[in-house]
Amino acid sequence: MANETTISITVNGRERSSEVEPRMLLVHWLREGLGLTGTHIGCDTTSCGACTVLLDGTPVKSCTMFAVQADGRALTTVEGLQQNGKLHAIQEGFKEEHGLQCGFCTPGMMLLGAALLEDNPNPSEKDVRWAISGNLCRCTGYQNIVKAVQYAGQKIESERSGAQA
């Protein structure tokens, strides 16, 4: 392909470089270039958020970004939530609180939740509802997603206080 450019992006802690056309969407680079299919495509129009990833810690919808826009930056996808074989608290929360049914929105919802908890470790129900309001879930009615995020916040807090004790 003509007009390719080299990009280098830290994905889940690991530097990944490749030649891409400037028009390549970030979500396609992740899914088809790196095989990271946990980032989903649900709507193509930035409406559903199934493609949400963290760009330097901030949630972005990867269907509305070019891969080249992420050049030199750090991305976290759902595959990067788990650390050393241990589920992230937000993953525990969605699993334990029935925060998912079909699970298609789950990676995006978890990344929104993880970003929220970085800023606000003890979010109210209203805080969580606002934080996830840019993403759609068609199965759960959101109530168990809220519970899942709050579960994760409590878990992180208790681990933190346990570590300090």
């Binding site: 495509i41 649900g42 298609f104 990676p107 606002w130 993403n135 109530q143």
Partner: protein
């Protein structure tokens, strides 16, 4: 969620003898087996299917809702570098048409297109973009015809017939009781329901892999593997065993995956090119690629005595089936048979039509005919209550169905029908605190930050509704599910393996199957094999039937395995099998306690049983719409509390209280998830969700313009779950998935009516309707209620 048992569950088959309950058995909120892969991002959805050598398929679709095809020229498309095949109707090897209930839909259109978006040609190419570009290079000449888009016009005998059979897909006439009864008070109105989309998040997609000897393996998201296979085999001219389907990860369904989308097309391309072929619709294509909920126009006349006893219901219901039949005949039957609501109605005269038009095809969506009817009959109950100057809940209680009630088809309701109790519970549920007067947080106002006022025109309204739904398939259909259960001890520990073709679409049937196996065999280690067509059919994940049906099949197969294990143990021990039971990996004796480890008893043997389960037979409807058409009924009630900015027409649902009889909650957490998710779709239909079709063209085929409730649109849900036990089902279960979506919609509309005083007879309600700037209530109704 609170749970209440006000009557004992009466299971038809005695459960295994008491022991220490196994971890993760029935009645516990066992975790989903797919939970960990889903939170890790490792779960493979149909859109994630991949093969190194695969090609990508694309579909050429009609830009016209109604046209004759004059010619199709694929020459230019074939010239595109990277294109491997371009196929048309001439390449359909077998039956040229398909369809769930009648094969009236072309696999690829040949002479005539009947809706905008109808598939005409297919392309396979090395890259998805190449496939799309080549699809644009397929030249089709049309003779454009006037589309028939109004179902009433379609019913007119003078209108052009869209199919050889005419424009009526089905007409059901129900005549019950006295033909011309007299009532003291009469309420008449006409209601309209817009076209709703299932709006699952995971687009239609899959991978077809040729097997090199003429057959094909398909990995696809669907709701019913075996009915897909039947249609595929017919159109591909293959034997059923040459078409093997495995369920790929399903990103939601809600009815939209009952009909075929990419199935035949991807297999045709794969068999032609002898390469794996992946297809995946964009969201826009998805709006053309699956059926929607039927729009409907419903005219009702209710008659009652002055004391509020229903005397009759007369109704004429017209459902727009769109271009092809899909499941319109069954939707029509549900609407007709359930259209009087969960009430004692001694006399009924019903005509229900499903009609062909040139609108997008309509078919299955959660609630399936019961949704449209419930909006109308519950609106009628409120209208009647107003005419009688009676409390709307009181009117419903006075007429509430109960066990033994005879429905308008002459069917006696055999199981629990706790309509009065459900209504009383939601009526008496604690109310949310009143909205704070003064200067509220703008984010808390209806419309949130788009509310430009200080809330001075915000009024609160409360509405109630009840509804019911048939569970499982009806009208004499041979409804069954198949399960294979294998018990073995491969590494010195007992393991039970369950295999069915039940489609896990998110609802949790995978969890339920394992819970049943654990409980019935007293073995915690339970694994589920992937759902595929190497086992018999489980029927569809629809009609709220899988827990009942596939659950019943797994339970029956487990019972057969248990019987064999216990008779072996009895032989070894010289005991009676009836004195033994299984508990937590042990063979237990009533007298002696643990007598054997199950693993020890099994050794190298594998005990396996395959069983089919059927619910009690149902009957077709006769010429007067009479018959025991349904296998069972499920009931729910909802109370909605809303805040309405009556000047801006903005609505905020503040609180939903619901009560539902689920028979038995095999997994309380999953029940809660179904209830909350269903209510979200019910609120969506009341307030925002409509596929807007003008002159046969969808104007909003995207999630930017087709609105779905977000986390801010959804209020807290307070669910009161009753477990009254159905006498005809395994463990007494009823279906859970559909009732939440049925009566939540009319409850919200009733609450908005209470806040505004407006008639609001069309859903979804738009802000300008709510504010009184327009009145899209269909003509021919009684005047507006006074404010």
């Amino acid at each position: 969620m609170s749970r209440a048992s006000t009557a004992p569950v009466a299971p038809p088959v005695a459960p295994p003898k008491e022991g220490v309950p196994v971890q993760g058995g029935v009645g516990t909120s066992a975790l989903r087996p797919d939970g960990v892969p889903k939170v890790k991002g490792e779960f493979a959805y149909s859109s994630d299917m991949w093969d190194e050598h695969m090609l990508w398929g694309a579909t050429v679709r009609s830009p016209h809702p109604h046209a004759c095809i004059v010619s199709i020229d694929i020459t230019d498309a074939l010239k595109h570098p990277g294109v491997h095949a371009v196929l048309t109707h001439e390449d359909v090897a077998g039956r040229k048409t398909f369809g769930l209930e009648r094969p009236d839909q072309p696999v690829l259109a040949s002479e005539r297109v009947r809706y905008r978006g109808e598939p005409i040609a297919l392309v396979a190419a090395a890259h998805p973009e190449t496939a799309r570009r080549a699809a644009e290079a397929v030249h089709i000449d049309y003779e454009v015809l006037q589309p028939v888009t109004d179902p009433e016009v379609a019913l007119d005998a003078a209108t052009v017939a869209l199919h050889p059979s005419g424009n009526v897909v089905r007409h059901i006439h129900i005549a019950h009781g006295e033909p011309d009864p007299e009532a003291d008070v009469v309420a008449e109105a006409t209601y309209e329901v817009g076209m709703q989309d299932q709006a699952f998040l995971g687009p239609e997609s899959g991978l077809a892999v040729p097997d090199g000897s003429g057959g094909v393996d398909l990995y696809v998201s669907t709701q019913w593997l075996h009915v897909d296979r039947e249609q595929l085999a017919a159109s591909l001219a293959l034997a059923p065993e040459e078409v093997r389907i495995t369920l790929a990860g399903v990103g939601g369904a809600f009815g939209a995956r009952e009909d075929l989308s990419i199935q035949i097309h991807s297999c045709m391309l794969a068999l032609t090119t002898n390469r794996p072929v992946k297809m995946m619709y964009s969201r826009e294509e998805s709006f053309y690629g699956h059926v929607h909920r039927h729009p409907a126009r419903l005219n009702y006349i209710h008659g009652a005595t002055t004391s509020g006893e229903l005397v009759f219901v007369k109704a004429r219901l017209v459902f727009d089936g769109g271009a092809y039949a899909s499941s319109s005949t069954a939707v029509c039957a549900n609407a007709a048979t359930l259209c009087c609501g969960p009430y004692e109605v001694p006399n009924a005269l019903i005509d229900c039509y499903a009609v062909y038009t040139n609108n997008p095809p309509c078919g299955a969506m959660r609630g399936f005919g019961a949704v449209q009817a419930c909006f109308a009959y519950e609106s009628q109950m409120d209208l009647l209550a107003a005419k009688l100057a009676m409390d709307p809940v009181e009117l419903r209680l006075r007429n509430a169905a109960s066990t033994g009630t005879v429905t308008p088809t002459g069917q006696k309701i055999e199981g629990p029908a706790p309509v009065a109790e459900l209504l009383t519970r939601v009526r008496d549920a604690p109310l949310p605190p009143p909205g704070s007067p003064g200067t509220p947080d703008i984010r808390e106002l209806p419309g949130g930050v788009s509310n430009a006022t200080h809330g001075e025109a915000v009024r609160r309204g409360i509405g109630h509704a009840a509804g019911y739904k048939n569970i499982c398939y009806s009208e004499g259909f041979d409804d069954y599910a198949t399960a294979r259960v294998r018990l073995s001890a491969p590494a010195g520990e007992p393991v039970v393996e369950v295999h069915t073709a039940a489609a896990e679409v998110g609802q949790g049937v995978a969890t339920i199957q394992l819970q049943i196996a654990r409980t019935e065999l007293g073995v915690e280690a339970a694994v589920l094999r992937p759902a595929d067509t190497s086992i018999g059919s489980s029927g569809s994940s629809s009609a709220s039937r899988q827990t009942w049906m596939t659950g019943g099949a797994v339970k029956t197969a487990c019972e057969a395995v248990r019987e064999r294990v216990l008779s072996t143990a009895a032989e070894v021990l010289g005991a009676e099998p009836g004195e033994l039971y299984l508990s937590n990996g042990l063979v237990m004796s009533l007298e002696l306690g643990a007598v054997y480890s199950l693993a020890e008893l099994l050794g190298d043997t594998v005990v396996e049983a395959t069983r089919e389960y059927r619910h009690a037979p149902t009957s077709p409807l006769d010429a007067n719409g009479q018959g025991n058409a349904h296998a069972g009924f499920a009931f729910a009630a909802h109370r909605a509390v809303v805040d309405v900015d009556v000047e801006l027409g903005l609505v905020k649902v503040v609180d939903i209280a619901t009560a539902q009889d689920v028979g038995m909650a095999l997994n309380p957490q999953a029940v809660e998830g179904q209830i909350e998710g269903g209510i979200a779709q019910g609120i969506g239909l009341a307030l925002m969700e409509e596929v807007q079709v003008i002159d046969g063209v969808i104007r909003n085929p995207s999630f930017t313009d087709y609105l779905i409730p977000t986390s801010l649109d959804m209020p807290p849900v307070h669910a009161d779950v009753l477990e009254l036990g159905d006498p005809g089902s395994p463990y007494g279960v009823k279906g859970v998935g559909e009732p939440p979506v049925i009566s939540s919609t009319p409850a919200v509309v009733a609450a908005v009516r209470a806040a505004t005083g407006r008639a609001l007879r069309r859903i979804p309600m738009r802000p300008d309707d709510v504010a009184g700037l327009t009145d899209r209530s269909p003509a021919g109704e009684a005047p507006r209620e006074p404010r």
